[in-house]
């Protein structure tokens, strides 16, 4: 099994390192061709406008959208969540509207609003260290979306079929459980 990590901009090496700890092979996905050789994809944290722009200019968006619609397991962390959201309540830029959620960008404000907290995630035993960096949160979910975590009344993790999204960054911790959870979504 090979997990692709979208490597256009952002914290992609952190995901590679966690997967290495789990003995999972990964490749950096930088162009369309790389998408052909992967069984799943992680869209990392970074700047969503930056990654979205690069998806566009390197002509990867439509192939990627198609792959995900056809069932490629995908996990978006932070910026990745924004890139996969059907709606963004405070931005007209929609990137790949694949998961039926409405997201608020920079939902906790600027960097001074960044925080870390231990909270429960459905399907994972014991609280998980959640690192929020200028993070988005989910304001609304469609009826086919399963809510996985709520922190202070805001949805911060959700899943719809093959698509997983988290507002926080498990790749910035040494906790492997969220990555293990994602691996169970891959056939």
């Amino acid at each position: 099994m090979i997990v692709g990590i979208l490597a256009l901009q952002g914290a992609f090496i952190e995901h590679v390192n966690i997967l290495k700890n789990l003995n999972i092979n990964s490749i950096l996905v930088k162009n369309k061709e790389d998408l052909e050789n992967i069984n799943a994809l992680i869209i990392p944290g970074g700047e969503s406008t930056s990654i979205g722009k690069l998806l566009d200019v390197f002509h990867m968006k439509s192939s990627l959208e198609k792959k995900i619609s056809q069932g490629l397991p995908v996990w978006g962390t932070c910026a990745g969540m924004i890139l996969l959201a059907k709606k963004i309540s405070n931005d007209e830029r929609i990137h790949m509207p694949l998961i039926d959620i409405t997201v608020v960008r920079n939902g906790y404000g600027r960097q001074l609003g960044s925080f870390c907290i231990y909270e429960k995630i459905k399907g994972i035993n014991k609280p998980f260290p959640m690192v929020f960096i200028r993070a988005p949160y989910i304001e609304q979910v469609g009826k086919n979306v399963e809510v996985l975590a709520i922190v202070n009344g805001k949805i911060v993790a959700a899943k719809q079929n093959n698509i997983l999204v988290t507002s926080f960054h498990p790749e910035l911790t040494d906790d492997l459980r969220m990555h293990q959870y994602f691996l169970t979504m891959i056939q």
């Binding site: 901009q9 952190e14 930088k30 944290g45 970074g46 700047e47 404000g109 925080f115 231990y118």
Partner: protein, 292 residues
């Protein structure tokens, strides 16, 4: 369990593989964001103009910074003078995402840098070598950048600073543990951070390139030398076609290792900024000498 310093280092990690662009107004900020910049540096004059105008260069007008914060959704950084902790307090009060304690502005203290541990906002600082980098990290910087020679469009100093750091890191990694205290003394760097470098072979924070980057090739050069991302100051908005050049530099940082893509995006960019060779500068004109 909140650890502000970790969160601040984490934000720097999110900027990796990206380009941070100097902008002087909302229009430029929007151009930068649309071109794919991962953050912008808000300042009143780009380094090339500061160099030309002379005089004292200070923190920018908070009102101007606030306008840029409103205009874009990406992180906004701004510069303070070396040692000017009140300018830093002011930037923190307007919720800046990153403070650059910068040699590009006129230093306010000839001995001490800001005690960055006193702040919630993250700091980035310039460095010419590993000693300087580790001193800044010891003071609480969450991110390092090469100093290069800002406002020249000449990449030679940035290359020198990055190569110096890499070679010093290799040396420290190869040392015996009994040698670490002495090298710590020689470099003027905190012992615990020397130990960290010895053990891991890297800096404990993200390291960007800055100072003199003017073309996609310059940006890719710095990435191939091992930088995590790139600051472009005067290089974009002092060029013939800022929009196109900005976008090309963003793409070059993503595909820094693919010459055929670099060739394509280096085509027809219009005029690069009209630079000054660092060699022609007298020693007292070099901004990179500021910082202690």
């Amino acid at each position: 369990m909140e650890n502000r310093y970790d969160l601040n280092k984490n934000l720097a990690q999110m900027l990796k593989g990206g380009v941070i662009m100097d902008v002087t107004n909302e229009e430029q900020a929007k151009i930068a964001e649309q071109a794919g910049a991962c953050a912008v540096m808000a300042l009143e004059r780009v380094p090339a103009d500061i160099r030309r105008d002379g005089g004292i260069a200070r923190m920018s007008d908070p009102q101007m910074i606030k306008k840029i914060q409103k205009a874009v959704s990406i992180p906004v950084m701004a510069k303070v003078r070396i040692g000017h902790f009140v300018e830093a307090q002011i930037l923190e009060a307007i919720e800046i995402d990153f403070i650059d304690e910068s040699e590009v502005l006129t230093p306010a203290d000839h001995l001490y840098h800001i005690d960055k541990t006193k702040f919630k906002a993250p700091f980035v600082c310039g460095a010419r070598n590993i000693g300087e980098a580790l001193r800044r990290i010891g003071e609480g910087a969450s991110m390092i950048r090469t100093k290069g020679e800002a406002g020249t469009g000449d990449v030679v100093e940035a290359v020198k600073h990055m190569r110096t750091m890499t070679s010093q890191i290799r040396k420290i990694v190869g040392m015996g543990e009994e040698e670490l205290m002495n090298i710590s003394k020689e470099l003027g760097a905190p012992y615990d951070l020397i130990q960290y470098v010895h053990k891991t072979g890297k800096l404990p924070v993200v390291n960007f390139a800055a100072g003199g980057i003017a073309t996609p090739a310059d940006a890719a050069l710095m990435m191939q030398l091992g930088c995590d991302g790139v600051f472009v100051g005067s290089g974009i908005f002092k060029s013939g076609n800022p929009q196109k050049r900005a976008e090309a530099i963003v793409k070059a940082v993503t595909h820094y290792n693919e010459p055929s893509i670099l060739a394509q995006l280096s085509e027809d960019l219009g005029e690069a900024m009209n630079g000054i060779s660092v060699q022609s500068l007298s020693e007292d004109m070099k901004l990179s000498k500021r910082g202690w």
